[in-house]
């Protein structure tokens, strides 16, 4: 650790800890997940960056969407994202979550993931190689440093819009809203 790092640690320990302890939720969507085992095991060893897979969304702070997102998966993605504690970061992995990729004209996959949950960064490619994951992680570090990885804040602020997008896709959602919607907030105000 150089001196620069130490001053950063002293200034905002939480931010630095988030940088170096990115615990990724085990959530295997699409074909991109096949790239993750090499990333976390011996060959590329993501643990040296503090990136570690964890079992449940409650324990993680990094959400990787690794591949195309079908409608059915999207429901699970939204629930999982909402179950993660704040602060949390989302990374879209591969071209499918960005713009649909090779499924751009499919009736059953979504084209733009960031319409439904906020995404902090993308790793492009089909598939991205493990090295690209590390490049993505270092970019995420920069974003966290500058305070630009604020997807969870945007989700809270524009929750009504996100929820509306989700409902446009699915109709009535099976779970209650995470944050009070505007109407409820109006009611709660004395």
């Amino acid at each position: 650790m150089d001196r620069n790092q130490i001053t950063k640690w002293l200034k905002s320990p939480a931010k630095m800890a988030h940088k170096y302890s990115l615990h990724a939720v085990y959530f295997c969507t699409g074909c991109g997940i096949i790239e993750i085992p090499p990333v976390i095991t011996t060959r590329w060893d993501a643990e040296r960056f503090g990136v570690l897979p964890v079992a449940t969304p409650r324990q993680g702070n990094l959400f990787m969407i690794t591949g195309y997102v079908s409608l059915k998966t999207l429901k699970a993605i939204i629930r999982t994202y909402e179950q993660m504690p704040d602060p949390k970061y989302t990374v879209g992995f591969g071209s499918c979550p960005i713009n649909g990729g090779m499924y751009w004209d499919s009736y059953n996959t979504i084209k733009h993931l960031d319409r439904y949950i906020p995404v902090d960064g993308w790793i492009a490619g089909c598939m991205p190689r493990p090295e690209a994951v590390f490049v993505g992680v270092t970019h995420l570090w920069t974003l966290i440093d500058k305070g630009k990885a604020d997807g969870y804040l945007r989700y809270k602020r524009y929750y009504a819009a996100y929820r509306r997008n989700q409902e446009m896709l699915f109709g009535e959602l099976q779970w209650p809203p995470l944050y009070p919607t505007e109407a409820e907030a109006e009611e709660a105000r004395p």
């Binding site: 320990p13 939480a14 630095m16 800890a17 988030h18 170096y20 302890s21 615990h23 085990y26 095991t41 011996t42 060893d45 643990e47 040296r48 503090g50 897979p53 964890v54 079992a55 449940t56 969304p57 409650r58 324990q59 702070n61 179950q83 993660m84 504690p85 704040d86 602060p87």
Partner: protein, 310 residues
Amino acid sequence: MVTRIIQLLLSPLIALAVGVLFLGLSRKIIARIHRRYGPPLYQPVIDVIRMMSQRSISHGSLFELGVVLALAGSLVTVLFIPLGGTVICRQNPLAHGVLCPLSSSGGLLVVMYLMLFGPLGLALGAGDSANPNASIGVSRKLLLALAYEVPFLLVILAVMSHYRTISITEIVARQQESGWGVLSVPLSAVAAFLILPAMLGIRPFDLVSAPQEIASGPLAEYGGSYLALLAVQKGVHLFVVIALYVDLFLGGGVNLATFLVKMLVVFVAAEMIAAVLPRIRIESAVRFCWKWPTALALLQMAITVLSKSV
């Protein structure tokens, strides 16, 4: 009085620091055996800070209190375990530099019971999380505890019968006078080492918090600061178990430094075995614990009882 207060504060802090360090060490050792570079030694500290800064969810008061009970119980246990130092005066070990603040308040039986608080607190908290994964994990945890407690109790009883005392400072003192427990009750030492991974919850006995099968079991709903406290609790528990092993079989330590060195040796040995083994199922774990460690411990106890009665 002042020494006592300092000791009371010091031993849990040592346990915290060493326990968390051991957590990092275990990750590093496993990484090196896997030919990886591995995370830095202080990685668990980063993780704990990160988790503390996240906003956790709660399923109810017991969900929160269970964690508090688990960590507090583990910290209290530390106070009953001598952490090095020579016993000069048996009647008042405190006055002569044994780092065991509550040695006059309870012996080995109390330690065994206090070690219950960790699993019990976690079990109660996890039960309140209304998640079947947690319940399955707790069921496994309690079964595993029953499985390793049978040989462990035999080991403890053999040691207590050998030294004819239930006071743990007394056992340490006797070893420092007349040779280590690993020489006088060797089979018990071997049996205790065989069940050490089960007591620590590391491979091949990490079936309680198996992330791939039952979503890390009792921890399934824990996140944020509760998960941080549970991670710390795991470290302290690790410290307690290994310190107990060192006190029972390796003669404690003349001072804190030698004590920690002995702990390090035991821990690294256990961790190296753990690093090369896969996870086994709960049935196999129970069968293993009730077979070889129990047989060895039983044999040692029979020998001890016979040699004492002759």
